[in-house]
């Protein structure tokens, strides 16, 4: 299975993950500072800054895109509960 590497900048941890993993599945396990509310892409609590490698995340769904717009999220910000890692290297930190 293709692998990817996601780095949580706030705690200095890089995790090798299978492609298809969502950020939420990793960030909680390593204790990164990204926090979660609804976990369903609605509340925007888990807004995360993608420091680099945004192209290595699957594009946001229509729902995620709308929530990001409604909450005035800056560029290169994603919902960690929705963002799916598709390969390569990604660096993230809490928004």
């Amino acid at each position: 299975m293709p692998k990817a590497k996601v780095t949580f900048e706030d705690i200095g941890v890089s995790v090798t993950v299978p492609a298809g993993t969502r950020l939420i599945e990793v960030s909680e396990k390593v204790g990164a500072g990204i926090t979660y509310g609804c976990r369903e892409g609605e509340c925007c609590t888990c807004l995360t800054k993608v420091v680099s490698g945004a192209e290595n995340l699957a594009p946001p769904s229509i729902l995620e895109d709308q929530v990001l717009k409604d909450n005035l999220a800056p560029r290169n910000h994603r919902l960690a509960c929705q963002a799916q890692i598709i390969g390569g290297e990604i660096v993230v930190k809490p928004a």
Partner: protein, 423 residues
């Protein structure tokens, strides 16, 4: 002093400025979390300019009738050009759908974050959302000789909250800020009964979790000329309104100088039946203290109360909880503390758990789950030790303390992990 609100007429605050809200004297519990010993008020206001009329907030839905009666006593619906929503919670927006039907020409002014909530609010009625304009600090609406100036004051106590300042009269329509659940038909702070307890109780339960936002809002409000504060609940503050702003600043500021303010702080809470979890706590604390830049406090939960511990938790950067496992659970004093934290902001603090156990040792994982649920970050797996910790196991406790301290001070080394290795 005559009671101002015993009729269904609007009550004048200043020329062309009226209260059109509602009294709810029999309410005894608000939003489940607040006691309301003499009820509350839902305050809504009308401002008349030369070119139009503004309505600022509405009331809870089942008080809509008296709201509309009072509104009709000072304005007709076709005069309403402006509706300001300082806060979309249902106790202030309950009459909004009906108001929008009666005054469809009105433009709605609200914060950016309120837009989603407005759509959700109007969803049951199937009504198309009205023309609405998101505003922030510095935006104004000119009613003709009357200027509404908006202040962006989010998280007081919802993401959508804002204040609106009537420039010419020096009146601040503050939303829930400076409000309280206190019902007295005399309405003005220099006429009503003693509401000081209610004012501070409201702050403690509604605003305290957002004290950083409170201080931001107070900084925006302090430079304003203030003749009257008109909050969304409780008395209008016309006598010494600035005192209430100053009190908010005091309430949002730690009371005593924090001697550890230049360091990171770790508070270690424990409870112990046979001294084993206590020994773990002491070793953990010693390990953390060995790392420079961290000030550690050690507390036995049996020696205090949830309220005191809540104060400690609010100020701490990191929290470690030690509990034995009894009947497959952490013990009640732990849960008492961990279920008392809705009044403070714990999001993003560092959390950890540890404990001695006899048979199955579920407490540590259960505490960790609760800490994550409270939006703490839990970067280090907790430590479970079977019954009596030996010298090597106490060394593990010290190591845990050291690691927590390194996380608090940013001294942790970069790690590479394979996801398969994570529990």
């Amino acid at each position: 002093m005559p009671a101002a609100a015993l009729t269904d007429q609007a009550v004048e605050l200043a020329p062309g400025v009226h209260w059109v809200g509602a009294l709810d004297p029999h309410l005894r519990n608000f939003d489940i979390i607040l006691k309301t010993a003499n009820g509350t008020t839902y305050n809504s206001y009308v401002v008349r300019g030369e070119n139009g009329v503004a309505v600022i907030d509405t009331v809870k839905e089942n008080f809509a009738d008296v709201f509309f009666q009072r509104l009709e006593s000072v304005a007709s619906y076709d005069e309403i050009t402006t509706i300001v929503l300082n806060h979309l919670e249902p106790d202030h927006s309950g009459a909004l759908p009906e108001l929008l039907k009666r005054a469809p020409q009105a433009r709605v002014y609200l914060s950016s974050r309120a837009q989603m909530m407005l759509k959700a609010l109007l969803k049951p009625s199937g009504e198309k959302p009205p023309e609405y304009i998101p505003v922030t600090t510095g935006d104004t609406v000119d009613l003709g000789g009357r200027t509404l100036h908006f202040l962006h004051t989010p998280y007081l106590h919802w993401p959508d909250t804002q204040c609106t300042y009537l420039v010419e009269e020096g009146i601040l329509f503050s939303g829930d800020v400076f409000g309280c659940h206190f019902c007295d038909a005399r309405l003005f702070n220099d006429s009503v009964g003693d509401f000081r307890f209610s004012f501070e109780y409201y702050y403690a339960h509604i605003m305290r979790p957002f004290r950083e936002n409170v201080l931001d809002a107070v900084a925006l409000i302090e430079p304003l000329e203030l003749n009257l504060i008109a909050p969304a609940h409780g008395p209008f503050l016309r006598h010494q309104p600035r005192d209430y702003v100053h009190r908010y600043r005091e309430l949002a500021t730690p009371r005593l100088f924090n001697e550890a303010r230049s360091e990171k702080t770790l508070v270690v809470f424990y409870i112990s039946a046979y001294g084993n979890t206590r020994r773990m706590a002491e070793a953990l604390a010693a390990g953390a203290e060995a790392i420079g830049g961290v000030r550690v406090s050690l507390y036995d939960l049996e020696g205090g109360e949830s309220g005191i511990f809540t104060d400690l938790i609010e100020e701490a950067d990191g929290l470690a909880f030690g509990s034995p496992t009894i009947n497959a659970d952490a013990v009640k004093p732990i849960w008492d503390v961990l279920s008392s934290l809705t009044t403070v902001n714990v999001k993003g603090k560092l959390g950890a758990a540890f404990g001695s156990y006899g048979w199955s040792g579920e407490a540590v994982r259960l505490i960790e789950d609760r800490l994550r649920g409270l939006k703490l970050r839990v970067p280090v797996e907790g430590l479970r030790i079977k019954l009596v910790p030996d010298a090597g196991e106490l060394e593990q406790c010290r190591d845990l303390g050291e690691l927590l301290a390194r996380h608090l001070t940013g001294k942790v080394e970069h790690r590479e992990i394979d996801m398969a290795a994570l529990a």
